[in-house]
């Protein structure tokens, strides 16, 4: 006879395999996200920055020509009112007002980083054209190695997000549905061991995690040349630990929730802040310093940081003590609390 843990795990896998839409959400959706975001943020030749030149004096045309000779700039002659309008709407990064042959005014919004950058480039171009000699020789070396691109940043984040979603929805939702359908009660009336029931979610998720990651990573490699710089085992260890933490939180949410609506609310309450705070689509370092300790303690931050460090920097496990500790803590704590508070009937 087949062990009950295996039977319960088969129940999870069969239910998933016989629902095509569920497969889309676990595998197809992240692929689609990768594809869309990969295309949106692909590396292209830098476009020229548009600079408005106010056509108010005779040398305006000369200024515009000087700017257009630069590889990074495009000088456009504009009437004063039109120049102001285009600056406001962001169509030009900066407006140059030629006051006289030897004096110009830069008009810009200093809060816009691209305006600041444009001002420096424009200033350099104009000063050099007017005969400035640079005392220091400079050279540029362009870096577009894999590991440092946005797509390299994105892939581990998407894996983390997927682990979070499947852990919480796959486990929490299924349990609450079983409670609503009285299936949980029906099973509680048998000698089924409670640990087998909860363990089957764990096992099923671990079995699914391997193909999910392989599919996503293969796609990212084929489509965008995303490479694993570090150790695959360390990478999977982070994925497994993250999975344990998220399944634990899923169990916690489902421990006492009686309705599907209640569960959905709780899931969103947990998932959405982490999507934003944990550095899935952009680096969490952008948030102010005083919230950083809190962000570091979020399980999704730990998964994302760990996966990124291993994949993009080839980091060793020993150097990733904090994320490892955070994930272990979440996994153990959520399981213990969920088991203690779980309501079977």
């Amino acid at each position: 006879m087949i062990h009950p843990l295996i039977q319960l795990t088969l129940l999870r896998l069969r239910t998933l395999a016989r629902q095509p839409e569920a497969i889309f959400w676990t595998v197809g959706f992240p692929l689609l996200m990768t594809c869309t975001l990969g295309i949106a943020f692909r590396n292209t030749a830098p476009t020229k920055t548009r600079i408005g030149v106010e056509a108010n004096s005779s040398n305006a045309q000369a200024v515009a020509n000087t700017l257009s000779q630069s590889a990074e700039l495009e000088g456009v002659l504009l009437a004063p009112a039109e120049a102001a309008r285009q600056l406001r709407s962001g169509k030009v990064a900066l407006v140059v007002v030629p006051d006289s042959a030897s004096s110009v005014t830069y008009r810009l919004d200093p809060m816009r980083p691209e305006s600041r950058a444009a001002q420096m480039i424009v200033n350099n171009a104009l000063q050099q054209a007017a005969g400035r000699i640079n005392p220091v020789m400079t050279k540029e070396q362009v870096v577009t190695e894999s590991g440092g691109r946005y797509i390299d940043f994105l892939i581990p984040g998407l894996i983390g997000m997927n682990l979070l979603g499947s852990g919480l929805w796959g486990v929490g939702f299924t349990i609450v549905m079983a409670r609503v359908n009285k299936l949980l009660k029906q099973m509680a009336a048998t000698p089924m061991r409670r640990a087998h029931y909860l363990g089957s979610f764990m096992l099923a998720r671990l079995l699914l995690l391997i193909p999910e990651i392989i599919v996503l990573m293969s796609f990212a490699y084929l489509a965008f040349g995303v490479r694993m710089q570090g150790n695959w085992l360390s990478f999977f260890l982070f994925a497994v630990l993250g999975n344990l933490a998220f399944v634990g939180i899923g169990l916690l949410i489902a421990a006492r929730t009686e309705t599907v609506e209640g569960a959905s609310g709780l899931m969103n309450l947990v998932i959405l802040p982490m999507w934003v705070l944990s550095g899935t689509f952009f680096s969490a370092a952008r948030f102010p310093d005083f919230v950083q300790p809190f962000i570091k303690l979020l399980p999704l931050t730990a998964v994302n940081d760990g996966l990124r460090a291993v994949m993009n920097e080839g980091a060793s496990l020993a150097s990733q003590g904090l994320p490892l500790a955070v994930l272990t803590g979440w996994a153990v704590l959520s399981f213990v609390v969920a088991l203690r508070t779980f309501r079977w009937q």
Partner: protein, 318 residues
């Protein structure tokens, strides 16, 4: 009924003074019950009578506020719950089994929870779902689904089978098929405790019946005993043309062969021992009082009449 060597029937379960409150509702109010090994015992009562709470306490799914329940010589919460669950089969009201599994997979799943019991093939044949064994649960009819639920309760070859409203919502043919499953289990020596609000189900399946109302058993006995307790074999029900205030109902009790009267719905019900004497007497009385009969029916007394006699309400609308 199984009897021990000294001829006394063995108890399969016994509970004493069970009480269970939910917030401000008293679901079970001092209930005593004994079920013998090998019998089919029915708790008959309207919705809200406390049947489900009682059966769930016995199944170990609910704990009573006070009172004791003992099954197969064991008690819940005494450290032997797992051993006890191994010997029980439980079908709950309205369990929704996973839609995506097949019949066979569902039975295998539940069988895996028990250390011993029936083979998968045997269980599927007990509930006559052989032809559906590879069908998904989601594709089964209501009756087939309910038989599968009973199959999940039978996987352990249980000593006691609990059935909570097993045929509610099923069509007549599906009910009949489910009754046959229960009868086969009985014939093999199993003990059954079932709840129902269908008197025909109770009358057909049960050796003994406890009629429940407001958390208590208000009458107990074999179906025949309960009906005999009415002191009458027949029931006459009648209504009068337009409600005539001057109709003197008290006079009905004095009629020849009438043992009891009750006003029901818009009319009256008479329990009668001799219909051949009571019917002419009733017609004569109507004549005497100058009222006209609108509708008159007679039938053999049933458990429904027992319930109405005890509570003044019908099972279905109580």
């Amino acid at each position: 009924m199984n009897t021990s060597s000294n001829g006394v029937a063995r108890l399969a379960l016994r509970c004493q003074s069970l009480v269970k409150h939910f917030k401000d509702v008293t679901a079970v109010n001092g209930l005593d019950l004994e079920v013998y090994a090998g019998e089919c015992f029915g708790l008959l009562g309207p919705n809200g009578a406390g049947k489900t709470t009682t059966i769930e306490i016995l199944e170990g799914l609910n704990t009573p506020d006070s009172g004791t329940a003992e099954l197969l010589g064991l008690r819940w919460g005494a450290g032997q719950d797992q051993a006890l669950r191994e010997r029980l089969g439980v079908q709950l009201q309205e369990t929704k089994l996973p839609d995506k599994l097949t019949v066979q997979e569902t039975v295998e799943l539940f069988r895996s929870f028990y250390s011993k019991g029936n083979t998968i093939d045997h269980v599927i044949s007990l509930v006559t779902l052989e032809e559906k064994r590879h069908a998904r649960v989601g594709k089964l009819s209501g009756g087939q689904r309910q038989r599968l639920a009973v199959a999940c309760a039978l996987v352990s070859a249980p000593d006691i089978l609990f059935l909570d409203e097993p045929t509610t919502g099923l069509d007549p043919q599906a009910r009949l098929q489910l009754w046959e499953v229960v009868e086969r289990f009985r014939a093999a020596g199993g003990t059954v405790l079932l709840t129902t609000h269908y008197m025909d189900e109770a009358a057909r399946l049960c050796d003994r019946i406890g009629i429940m109302d407001h958390g208590k058993i208000i009458a107990l006995g074999t179906p025949a005993e309960l009906i005999a307790s009415l002191g009458a074999e027949q029931i006459i029900e009648f209504t009068l043309c337009e409600t005539e205030a001057k109709f003197e109902a008290a006079a009905l009790l004095k009629l020849n062969g009438v043992t009891g009267t009750q006003s029901r719905d818009e009319g009256y019900a008479l329990t009668v021992s001799q219909i051949s004497a009571a019917l002419p007497a009733l017609l004569a009385e109507c004549e005497r009082q100058g009222v006209k009969l609108d509708r008159l029916t007679t039938h053999q007394a049933t458990l429904e009449d027992v319930f109405v006699h005890l509570t003044g309400r019908h099972l279905r609308d109580a």
